[in-house]
Amino acid sequence: MAERDKDNKNPRRFLDPAVLAGIGRLELRAHQAVEGFVAGMHPSPFFGHSVEFVQHREYTTGDDIRHLDWKVWSKTDRFYIKQFEAETNLRCTLVVDVSESMGYGSGPMSKREYAATAAASAAWLLLRQQDAVGLVTFDSSIRTMLPPRSQTRHLDAIVSGLANDKPREKTDILAILKQVAQNLPTRGLVAIFSDLLVDRDALIKGLQMLRQRKHEVVVFHLMDKDEVDFPFLGPTRFEGMESLPDLLCDPAALREGYLRELDGFLQEVRRGATRLGADYQFLRTDGPLDAVLTRFLHEREAVRRAGPISQG
């Protein structure tokens, strides 16, 4: 009982997709996931404001009022906010696949829900650090495009953008990524959440295009556990999504071949991504979210060390 109570009170439980699936609202999920993630970590210089004050700038609508310098207001009667050293040193664009194939799920969350949760959690994590986060969702075309913003309330827009009631099949990933690259004026971090069931060559070219524009690319390759394990037994009629034909077969008989093909696909994608200098992270829908969030932290740190401060 004590153990259960302890488990029930453990904020890291919200990293478990099964637990997260029980939370209906994506925004709340993201909050809980991040809280759970943060709770397990040591106090980190990665979070919060940098203690090193750099300069003032005049207040504009949307700036966090916690950073208002009241002393300057009392003297000048004008609002100025303080800028710290690491405050806006990351611009991240979350590219989330919301196509039909992402709708498959055998567990508590479908791929789409997992991707959305992961993306929302990452967005919240970054927004808490006053990093700028943008969103692009796509299926057959770009469905949502939100420029990166660092306000915490930008999370609402991101969460709204992640909802896609009528997913369609993926068609041209190269065009999608090309459009994404064109709409990112400055370099930043591009995190792709997708099952990557697309043309591999087009995918590689798309990633290459992003890398050529000096973006840091992280590919979160998301697949359902059944797609990974293929545990099916007994005669099954597999009805293909995204215009692929159906197949009636004995899954056990095809399992070996399927896994071989899948493995080849994953190897190809991983090699392609790493060859281009993109980070590749394979995710299962039954896996915890801390892998995603940890990855984002590492990227944030890498970018912070590498480049100047980015404006908020």
Partner: protein, 942 residues
């Protein structure tokens, strides 16, 4: 197709397997229709895998399906018992069929004591059947055997193919079979067996054998139809297995065991009087070929009567001997007390109730069981026919109903009744005198005899009662007179013979005074004795010389003798009047001389030469009397001639002169002449009617007739027998006549034992049985001890009624079938309220037809034509063998060449197991379960 099916012992199992082989395919097709649906994103990998592995998958699935189909087919081969080697099984129409008939009649109990073996024919027969079946077991061709017994032809005891297990069943069945104490011919069972055998598989290719295991007695074959049923064209091979002892050899007529049997047991009278000795007789037959002796033990009511029992010293071979013994019956004190009841007496009002009196008379009778046991130390032959029972009715006196047609109204008796009653011994007879009108009211069954004195026409009801009474065994005596109605008597003759002959329309005319005086002076006999040896007249013979003084004036002449002479026994006759006519007299004399002419055959035969001188001397005496003497002297001379037995060398074989074949015809003609010369109208005649007898005295019982009789003339004397010079002989006439009527027919009441059923009780209101006892006849080595120890069995009895005449109910007492012959005695009350006890009894004896063990000659059994038996193989459709020598129907070479089927070879089973293992391996492989467990799905993806 037939050839193909012949390769399997159970071809239908193969057909079933063929159908079942489709099940794996059907299951596969069903499974293809039963699947779940999954919306799948990573379809491209699945399609690629399917494309890559399709060929391998199909191959594996086809192998699995083929192995399963093959498994089912192989299992089907196993169940259908596919013939791997040997000869295919024979269809039933090619089997060999054996119909076996076992004779279980009582003659099969003949036992041989040779060497102390003690086996009986029945046991030998059973062993023979077993040997036959064992021979069939080693036959190449399947053999089917069917067994039945002679006593129950329709009941088949065994009907199976001979195999190890069925042979054991047959052996057990044979051990349990027992002989029946029945007399039964094998003909019925053989006929039924032949019919059943002929009906099965009419195709000629079926080999059919009919076996009869019997003792092949001459009595069954000479008169029996079995031999006529054997016909070579019907495709049945007949084998008669002779089970008799000693074993049949090559002789034409084998020797038979000599058997002594009590073939008849009777008494001189069907009614015995309490305390009065009665003569009984037992006829013992010696069916052997050697003279034997035996001891005849007599038991009365279960107790040995030593005075009646006797040693029979000489029983000649092939003959039967009558052994007479005398017993004194007794009713017993208890039975006497039971009959002394109020119902035996007239009512208080004095009115006589004939039915109540009848019941009392019936109750006065009791039964006495008489059993004779032939004790024979030889131990040879049958024991069942050494015992015989009879039941005697014992009464204190003979109840007698006298119907007097001349009793005047208001009178108790008449002249005829007076003289008739006086002639009866009151110690022996209990008469009841009634007038004619009362006849119909009487319970005739309670009387042993009915006497009709000078009655006229009787009412139809009375006639019917009398007829039924006589048919059932009663005795009716008619005494004629002037009231006798010839038309009525002649009608009674025509309708069943209640009156024994036909009467003329008028009696003989009354004598004139002169004729009467002439009659007094006539010294010739007035009555002749056609058969002096008859027991009716035996008592009168000593008085024969004085019968010339008897005055017989009137009588009723008989007419048309051709219509009744063969059936009627003339006991007394009036002298012939023909001798008085000169022409007839001379003609008869000439006829005598002609018959006795020594110049003609047969006296000229050389065979008579040794006795001719003696014959000539005797014939000379007759010739001398013919010339000089009268009618009766000539008759006497002829009778003396027929009794003549010259001694010494003149008659090499004393006592057999007139038994010579050459003289038989002369003897017959002489006897006819004697009758013709002396015998006129019959005076006292007797005739058998049904089980009873009728006797008629054609003159009056008393001396005078009544007025106003049929004759219409004045009263006169008909005869003076009852009151004249010979009046002392009248009681002899009356009593001997009555006892003659009581003398029962031989074995008239003997019942052959088949199933002891019971007795007819008669017409009663609602009888109640108070006792029914059965005394079984039990035979054994110690017959006397066995008899003494035989428990008297109280047998359950049922009363069964059936509709009788005039709406009355006739009751019968039935008992359950008994296993042994024996005696039944019973007691019952005519109705529940009655205090009277009526007793009865019956004897059930083994039929005498089984006693003669004489065996049939080969020619009496073998139906083949002379020389046919030598015609060679294929013509031996008949065999007569001693039991135990049988041959198997087919080859008995001992080698078992029957078909070997798949179920008996381990290779097929091994192949089945191997295939099963392969199928399981393929099934496991195709399930891919081993791949689905414990392995990481994708490399590097934990």
């Amino acid at each position: 197709m037939g050839g193909l099916l012949g390769l399997f012992l159970n071809p239908w199992a193969l057909a079933a397997a063929g159908l079942l082989a489709s099940i794996p395919v059907i299951i596969h097709l069903i499974n293809r229709m039963r699947y779940r649906r999954v919306r799948w994103a990573a379809m491209e990998f699945l399609l690629a895998a399917q494309k890559r592995m399709k060929r391998k998958m199909v191959l594996e699935q086809m192998l699995l399906l083929a192995s399963r189909v093959l498994l089912v087919l192989l299992f089907g081969f196993l169940l259908s018992r596919w013939l791997i080697s040997g000869t295919p099984p024979t269809p039933p129409e090619d089997w060999v069929l054996h119909e076996v008939v076992l004779d279980d009649s009582v003659s099969m109990s003949d036992t041989s004591r040779d060497g102390g073996a003690g086996a009986d024919c029945f046991a030998l027969a059973k062993d023979g059947i077993k040997t036959l079946a064992e021979g069939a077991l080693s036959s190449k061709t399947p053999v089917r055997l069917r067994l039945r017994e002679v006593s129950e032809p329709a009941k088949v005891l065994f009907d199976e193919q001979i195999a190890e297990d069925s042979l054991a069943t047959l052996t057990g069945l044979l051990e349990g079979l027992r002989m029946r104490p029945y007399q039964v011919s094998p003909a019925g069972a053989v006929e039924k067996a032949k019919a059943d055998l002929s009906a099965q598989f009419p195709e000629q290719r079926t080999k059919k054998h009919l076996h009869l295991f019997s003792d092949v007695r001459k009595a069954d074959w000479v008169d029996g139809p079995v031999r006529g049923w054997m016909n070579p064209t019907e495709g049945i091979a007949w084998t008669i297995h002779d089970c008799a002892l000693p074993a049949r050899g090559e002789e034409t007529r084998p020797a038979a065991h000599g058997n002594l049997a009590v073939v008849a047991l009777g008494s001189e009278s069907k009614l015995a009087l309490d305390g009065q000795p009665i003569e009984c007789w037992a006829r013992i037959a010696n069916h052997g070929r050697q003279a034997r002796s035996a001891f005849l033990a007599v038991e009365l009511n279960g107790k040995r009567d030593t005075s009646a029992s006797r040693q029979v010293e000489t029983l000649p071979p092939g003959q039967s001997v009558e052994v007479r013994f005398r017993i004194i019956p007794s009713r017993g004190d208890a039975e006497r007390a039971e009959t002394a009841g109020p119902e035996g007496a007239p009512g208080q009002s004095g009115a006589r109730d004939p039915l109540r009196e009848g019941l009392a008379r019936r109750a006065a009778a009791s039964s006495m069981a008489v059993r004779v046991i032939l004790e024979d130390d030889s131990g040879e032959g049958l024991a069942a026919d050494n015992i015989r029972d009879m039941v005697l009715e014992v009464r204190p006196r003979v109840p007698l109903l006298v119907v007097d047609g001349t009793i005047q109204p208001g009178a108790v008796t008449s002249s005829d009744s007076l003289y008739f009653g006086a002639a009866l011994n009151s110690q022996l007879f209990d008469p009841l005198f009634v007038e004619t009108a009362d006849l119909e009211k009487q319970d005739l069954g309670s009387f042993a005899l009915v006497v009709l004195l000078n009655v006229g026409e009787l009412q139809p009801g009375a006639v019917a009662k009398l007829s039924d009474y006589a048919q059932a065994g009663g005795g009716v005596a008619w005494f004629a007179g002037d009231r006798t109605d010839p038309a009525f008597c002649n009608r009674a003759f025509e309708q069943g013979g209640l009156f024994p002959l036909l009467l003329a329309g008028q009696p003989s005319p009354a004598l004139s005074e002169k004729e009467r005086e002439d009659l007094k002076r006539d010294e010739s006999p007035k009555v002749v004795f056609p058969d002096p040896a008859s027991p009716v007249v035996a008592g009168l013979l000593p008085f024969r010389p004085v019968f010339r003084h008897l005055r017989m004036e009137r009588h009723w002449p008989a007419i048309e003798p051709s219509r009744w002479a063969d059936q009627v026994e003339t006991l007394l006759a009036l002298p012939s009047r023909g001798w008085q006519v000169a022409g007839q007299r001379e003609s008869m004399k000439r006829e005598i001389l002609e018959v006795l002419s020594l110049d003609k055959s047969p006296f000229t035969s050389p065979a008579l030469a040794p006795v001719l001188p003696a014959l000539e001397a005797e014939i000379g005496k007759v010739r001398s009397r013919i010339a000089t003497q009268g009618q009766f002297e000539i008759v006497t001379a002829l009778e003396e001639l027929l009794r003549a037995q010259p001694q010494g060398q003149a008659n090499p074989v004393p006592g057999t002169l007139w038994d010579r074949l050459e003289l038989r015809d002369v003897q017959t003609r002489l006897r006819g002449l004697i009758r013709k010369i002396q015998q006129g109208d019959p005076l006292l005649v007797a005739r058998e009617v049904g089980k009873g007898k009728v006797l008629a005295f054609l003159s009056s019982a008393g001396p005078a007739s009544s007025r106003g009789g049929v004759t219409g003339d004045s009263p006169g004397v008909w005869n003076e027998w009852a009151n004249g010079f010979l009046s002392a002989t009248f009681p002899i006439l009356v009593q001997d006549s009555l006892f003659y009527l009581l003398r029962q027919q031989s074995d008239a009441r003997d019942k052959v034992f088949a199933l002891a059923q019971g007795n007819d009780l008669g017409v009663f209101a609602n009888p109640v049985v108070s006792e029914s006892l059965y005394y079984p006849q039990r035979t054994g080595p110690q017959t006397q001890a066995a008899q003494a120890a035989a428990a008297v069995a109280k047998v359950p009895a049922r009363l069964v009624s059936s509709a009788g005449a005039n709406g009355t109910a006739t009751w019968a007492l039935q008992i359950d079938p008994q296993e042994h012959p024996g005696l039944l005695t019973f007691a019952f009350r005519p109705d529940p309220a009655s205090s009277l006890v009526l007793r009865g009894g019956s004897a059930f004896n083994v039929g005498v037809g089984e006693s003669d063990l004489e065996r049939a000659d080969v020619s009496e059994v073998d139906p083949r034509e002379a020389g046919e038996e030598k015609a060679g193989p294929g013509r031996e459709w008949f065999r007569l063998l001693p039991v135990g020598r049988v041959e198997a129907g087919e080859s008995a070479d001992g080698s078992l060449k029957r078909a070997l089927d798949a179920s008996e070879t381990p290779w097929l089973i091994l192949a089945l197991l191997l295939l099963l293992a392969i199928e399981q391996f393929l099934a496991w492989r195709c399930s891919h379960l081993h791949q689905a467990q414990g392995q990481p799905a994708v490399k590097g993806v934990a």
